[in-house]
């Protein structure tokens, strides 16, 4: 079943449109920055963008900072919301279950396919943005800053390319776990309703609410538990030494959400009448 889900994912035009759109945004930004050679002031605009002006090697990190807050979660919510509800609407759910595909197995296969989608999207974003960064922004060692070459970490000391690769991989892993949190919300809602749009919208509503509460001082009591609280904690991978606290908190929080919501999704799906 897992193989079948992957075939369905990869043969669906929608998957590739989503990946292409995700890749297009960082390339577009790179083009603007390269042409005008004008980066946002440090501390403003997307993270890292001011740091990449002279060295495109760090551009994948900047690209991920662009797609993680909104673009990628939307894509994940839409796909995960469609996972069960879409099959129900299309009538294929009853044929899969009558085939028979176990309900647990079906959910696991959906989750694996969603993970593969996130990894695929991030790999594509990292790949295209690296190429775009190197081609458009160059790999000049920032001699003017007196650095001996390589990429500068956010804290100052330079990073070797091995270090950079490892940290980019760590980032991809962290973002994947965060996005699985989104997928778990949408997947749970997807087992509740037969409307794929409704499930995706519900998941996005949760994320937007979380984002709004994060900016609200009065909500400080609940902020550490909001699903989007640690989404950008992976930026700490690019400090030297790596600042682990928020990364660990983020992983722990997402693990809780994943366990809770996937458990709820499973319990609901196992006992549900499939009448679509």
């Amino acid at each position: 079943m897992i193989r079948v889900e992957l075939v369905k994912l990869l043969r669906r035009p929608r998957t590739w449109v989503a990946v292409a759109l995700l890749c297009a945004l960082p390339v577009l930004v790179a083009a603007f920055v390269a042409v005008r050679h004008l980066a946002p002031a440090p501390g403003r605009g997307p993270a890292f963008l001011s740091a990449v002006l002279n060295n495109g090697s760090l551009y994948p990190a900047a690209a991920m900072a662009m797609v993680v807050p909104i673009f990628l979660p939307i894509a994940v919510a839409v796909l995960a919301g469609d996972a069960v509800a879409g099959e129900a609407t299309g009538g294929t759910l009853r044929y899969l279950l009558a085939r028979p595909v176990g309900r647990t197995r079906l959910l696991v296969a959906k989750l694996v396919a969603l993970t593969v989608f996130v990894l695929l999207a991030l790999a594509a974003v990292v790949g295209t943005s690296y190429v775009a960064g190197v081609l458009m922004l160059g790999t000049q060692p920032p001699a003017a800053l007196g650095e001996p070459g390589g990429v500068t970490s956010l804290s100052g000391p330079p990073l070797t390319s091995t270090q950079l690769t490892l940290r980019v991989l760590g980032t991809v892993a962290f973002i994947t776990v965060s996005m699985l949190g989104v997928a778990a919300i949408a997947l749970f809602l997807s087992t509740l309703t037969d409307s794929a749009l409704g499930a995706a919208f519900g998941a996005l509503a949760v994320l937007v609410t979380s984002d709004v509460l994060l900016t609200l001082d009065a909500a400080s009591a609940v902020q550490p538990y909001l699903p989007t609280r640690y989404w950008l904690a992976w930026v700490d991978f690019f400090r030297d030494p790596i600042f682990w606290r928020d990364i660990e908190h983020g992983l722990l929080l997402q693990a809780c959400y994943l366990g809770l919501l996937l458990g709820a999704a499973w319990a609901n799906f196992m006992t549900r009448d499939v009448t679509s």
Partner: protein
């Protein structure tokens, strides 16, 4: 093959299936009839483990459902409430995907089995067009091909000829009869009386959730003990058979008599001409209409 005891399904205040004791035997061509909304589809879904019963027991192929439904379903081919598939993929790819999704379909023989199933339903020559370009009839055939992929012991078909033209219906009926002769038990639900009458050997009739008739078709349609006679000399025949004529309409008579041949000899012996003579049998339509009340999709205004 299928046996249910006091099977009941309640959706909130609505009793969709009410204490049904279904009995489908090996080798049957069982036709389940009933008006729209009488609970046929809910019953079929419970047999396949898609909908969970409120109370009662189900046994399919000798195993309890839904507890051991995963052992049962690999030997069952199903068509539930119309065919479905992934619209952007071709019919062949759809069949391959569904075959690969579950157990009981060897990967080695998949290509051959898909081609054979498509041949059987008359889609052997389909090209790579996506499913969304298919006509309703083609989809219906593809759905049947999906049900036949693993040569099942039991076919559970909900409205199998929906969307087919008369020739297509005939083809599918012949195909089902052929499969049944080769040992497959066929359980089909339909509201098309003619379809069931021509294919089934056992009939169940559902009405508002209850199974009100379950009987051999031959028994249901046994002669009623009356003979229908059409004769240009109807008036004289009525006089001759005085007391045994139950109804007369122009030159048509309904006569209480067990033996059409004997009656014919009697009439001809008296010099009466007989244009038509046959034993009266109840039509399936009469049986169903007598057993059922109203269509559930008909909602009357309360004065």
């Amino acid at each position: 093959m299928i046996r249910t005891e006091a099977l009941t399904k309640r959706y909130g205040p609505i009793l969709a299936v009410d204490a049904v004791d279904l009995d489908v035997r090996e080798g049957d061509r069982y036709g389940l009839l009933g008006p729209n909304g009488s609970g046929k589809t809910t019953l079929v879904r419970m047999l396949l483990g898609l909908v969970f019963a409120t109370s009662g027991r189900i046994e399919v192929l000798g195993r309890p459902v839904p507890r051991r439904v995963h052992e049962v379903l690999p030997q069952v081919g199903a068509l539930v409430e119309g065919p479905a598939g992934y619209p952007h993929l071709s019919g062949r790819t759809n069949l391959r995907i569904f075959d690969a999704a579950g157990p009981g379909g060897s990967r080695r023989t998949r290509r051959r089995r898909v081609d054979e199933a498509l041949d059987r339903v008359g889609l052997g020559g389909i090209d790579r067009r996506p499913l969304k370009a298919y006509s309703l009839g083609m989809r219906q055939r593809l759905g049947l091909a999906g049900a036949l992929l693993r040569t099942p012991r039991l076919l559970v078909l909900d409205e199998p000829t929906n969307g087919l033209d008369p020739r297509g219906m005939r083809e599918i009926r012949d195909l089902l009869a052929e499969l049944n002769a080769a040992g497959t038990t066929v359980f089909l639900s339909s509201h098309l009386l003619a379809e069931v009458e021509q294919l089934g050997n056992r009939i169940g009739v559902m009405d508002r959730g209850r199974l009100v008739v379950q009987e051999e078709l031959a028994t249901l349609r046994a002669p009623t003990g009356r003979v229908l006679v059409r004769s240009p000399d109807a008036a004289r025949a009525a006089a001759l058979l005085d007391g045994r004529v139950e109804a007369r309409d122009g030159d048509a008579l309904t006569v209480r008599h067990d033996d059409p041949a004997g009656l014919n000899a009697l009439l001809v012996g008296e010099g009466l001409r007989v244009a038509e003579i046959s034993a009266q049998r109840r039509s399936l339509e009469q049986i169903v209409l007598a057993a059922t009340t109203t269509s559930a999709d008909r909602i009357e205004a309360v004065p």
